[in-house]
């Protein structure tokens, strides 16, 4: 009985194979029959089962890592949590001497994550503001306009941008970008927008939110543009041709056929870029100025959630300070998990559901 079964299932998979299906994804159902059969008999059964369990275990370790991070962060931030509760994220203390608002004073045990939430939000939004139009421009240029010869090298260049370590961006920013901001960009912005109160001239360092935003923009550009490119190339050619056939110009075609069809995926790419910007540590810590304050001016010094951890963690001597920093880390972990999950779902929805072969 089993013999017959084997010969049938072994013959079968050959039939659907040559259908130009590529690396035969369709045939998996039949193959697993053979495999199940071999798994369940003979003296290699135990070895096979052991092997499979080992592989499953390694795959499950990914869940394990996430759980481990969550558990460790929750346990180690207990102290701050029990002391401050939810107020940790929005309380404001007052300096007894100057009567100014005070947020973060490890010496006197005042801890509030508010300035770091604010700094993270402002620097990330500035980064998106700069990076998103550029990234979409690059993606449009690469998918719709670029001569074929340039496409490969340009894609390679954007890939390289993604491979440069954060600390090297930081080093470059400290030596080139900070003086540039200090000497030219910040005074110019102040003369143009000083009246709004969003730009002040009381920070002579060249560090600050805007400098961090610029370097973040450079760092998240590659990921946004490469994903946008990927999503745009899943838009079927028939769509483009249909719009062109109606007499549209190239820009109208891009707007109506490409951007409109790809918009969900582009939003996904932007959110993924946001996730990167939120958690980026070293380059930001090197240029944001590191002061736990809230300023309306975008060229003021500030601090982000990641940068305060990088700066203070190894010096935190008392338990509460350490615990407060870990709680900031926990908040960062939760936020980036949520942001990344949303982004992945959006990107997956587009690149999977689209008829890829219609290209």
């Amino acid at each position: 009985m089993p013999e017959i079964h084997i010969s049938q299932t072994q013959l079968q998979p050959k039939a659907p194979q040559p259908g130009g299906e590529g690396p035969g994804k369709k045939a998996s159902a039949e193959v697993s029959h053979v495999r199940m059969h071999l798994l369940s008999r003979g003296n290699s059964a135990w070895a096979d089962r052991g092997f499979q369990w080992l592989m499953v275990l390694c795959a499950l370790s990914i869940f394990g890592i996430v759980a481990l991070i969550a558990v460790e962060l929750i346990l180690r931030s207990q102290l701050a949590w029990s002391r401050f509760g939810f107020k940790f994220f929005f309380s404001v203390f007052t300096d007894p001497d100057t009567k100014l608002p005070l947020y973060w004073d490890p010496v006197n045990g005042h801890f509030s994550a508010l300035p770091f939430l604010y700094g993270t939000l402002v620097s990330s939004l500035l980064a998106l503001l700069i990076a998103v139009p550029l990234a979409i421009g690059v993606a449009i240029f690469l998918t719709e306009m670029c001569p074929q010869i340039l496409r490969g090298p340009l894609a390679f260049v954007t890939e390289l941008l993604a491979a440069i370590p954060s600390v090297i961006y930081g080093l470059w920013a400290v030596t080139i970008l900070v003086p540039l901001m200090r000497e030219h960009v910040n005074p110019l912005l102040f003369s143009l927008f000083g009246w709004t109160g969003l730009v002040s001239d009381d920070n002579p360092t060249g560090l600050g939110f805007l400098t961090a935003g610029v370097i973040l923009a450079v760092m998240i550009l590659p990921i946004i543009s490469s994903l946008t490119r990927e999503v745009m190339s899943t838009v079927p050619h028939s769509q483009r041709e249909a719009v062109l056939a109606l007499g549209a110009t190239r820009w109208e075609m891009i707007r109506i056929a490409v951007l409109r069809n790809a918009r969900i995926g582009i939003v996904g790419a932007i959110i993924l870029g946001l996730g990167r910007a939120l958690g980026e540590t070293m380059a930001v810590a090197m240029v944001i100025g590191n002061s736990p304050e809230i300023h309306r001016s975008i060229i003021a010094n500030g601090s982000t959630m990641a940068s305060v951890i990088a700066n203070e963690f190894s010096e935190a001597s008392d338990e509460l300070h350490m615990s407060a920093l870990i709680e900031i880390g926990l908040a960062l972990f939760i936020v980036t998990i949520i942001v990344n999950a949303i982004a992945r779902l959006l990107v997956w929805a587009v690149t999977r559901g689209a008829p890829a072969q219609a290209r």
């Binding site: 290699s44 390694c58 990914i62 481990l68 440069i164 400290v174 820009w251 939120l278 958690g279």
Partner: protein
């Protein structure tokens, strides 16, 4: 009119994106090449005020950290990839793992650093090379896992069936046939993960800590190239800035080599011989 304007904007934005890259690279190569000499590779850091010195300890330290990291990240990542491609295809568990791996990839490295700090450094009560290596290894797992899966999916089914038809046990068929066929792709995936963590600084600040002396002890704080660059970049001394640039050049050359290799191998069609 708008058509021309839009095209112009697209071209302009491409130029604007390339500009910082060119700026970074040109400056890096210029500054790095001026500061790089043999001492950089053969000497340890010297105290402030003395000229010369190098980062020999940081280069060796980075190698040790990456070695420990690869020992953890590569086998676990490849095995996870094998599960996703060979056993879990289409199953809900595999989809969940795939999704978690992608999300884990986006978790900031500094968070990973804190978790390892809490897990290893606190109980041991001292910073160590081992904890830094573990942090890097864990960061490699999702990348290695996903690229391994992708590469294994490219192996034609006929190859697997041929092995099974010969009566080879499943595990040998996977290891000796499927994984071997996809090995160039898997190796490039590992290189990519390697290049990514090679430049990581944030998870090392409070695990490996850094060390200004020569150390190869896994149980002691150890120097690492990115850490050393970070410390030197923020120092007020020109001599240290010079060394930071030299270190950055060495690091970037390693990473660009890895990325170019990956691109070369993947563009050639990794599995040409197989199909």
């Amino acid at each position: 009119m708008t058509d021309g304007l839009a095209s112009g904007l697209a071209v302009l934005s491409t130029l604007l994106v390339i500009a910082p890259l060119v700026a970074i690279f040109v400056y890096l190569i210029y500054k790095g090449a001026v500061s790089l000499n043999l001492d950089f590779f053969t000497h340890n850091p010297v105290p402030v005020g003395e000229l010369g010195g190098g980062m020999a300890n940081a280069i060796v330290g980075s190698a040790i950290l990456l070695g420990v990291g690869s020992l953890i990240g590569v086998p676990v990542g490849i095995s996870g990839g094998i599960f996703l491609a060979e056993f879990g295809r289409g199953s809900r568990l595999a989809t969940a793992i795939r999704f978690t791996a992608d999300v884990l990839n986006g978790v900031p490295s500094i968070v990973m650093g804190i978790a390892i700090y809490a897990l290893i450094v606190v109980p041991q009560n001292h910073f160590s090379a081992l904890s830094g290596g573990v942090a890097l290894g864990i960061m490699m797992i999702p990348t290695v896992c996903r690229t391994t899966e992708e590469m294994l999916l490219m192996v034609p089914h006929a190859v697997r069936e041929a092995a099974l038809a010969l009566g080879v046990p499943n595990w040998r068929s996977v290891m000796a046939i499927t994984v071997k066929t996809a090995s160039p792709g898997i190796i490039t995936g590992c290189m990519l993960a390697f290049a990514r963590v090679a430049g990581e600084t944030a998870p090392l600040i409070f695990t490996a800590l850094g060390n200004s002396n020569w150390s190869t002890n896994l149980n002691q704080p150890i120097a690492a190239l990115p850490l050393q660059i970070y410390v030197y970049a923020l120092s007020p001394y020109d001599e240290w800035h010079r060394l930071a640039w030299a270190g950055a050049l060495v690091l970037i050359v390693l990473i660009v080599l890895a990325v170019s290799l990956v691109r070369y191998v993947t563009s050639r069609g990794v599995l040409k011989g197989a199909s």
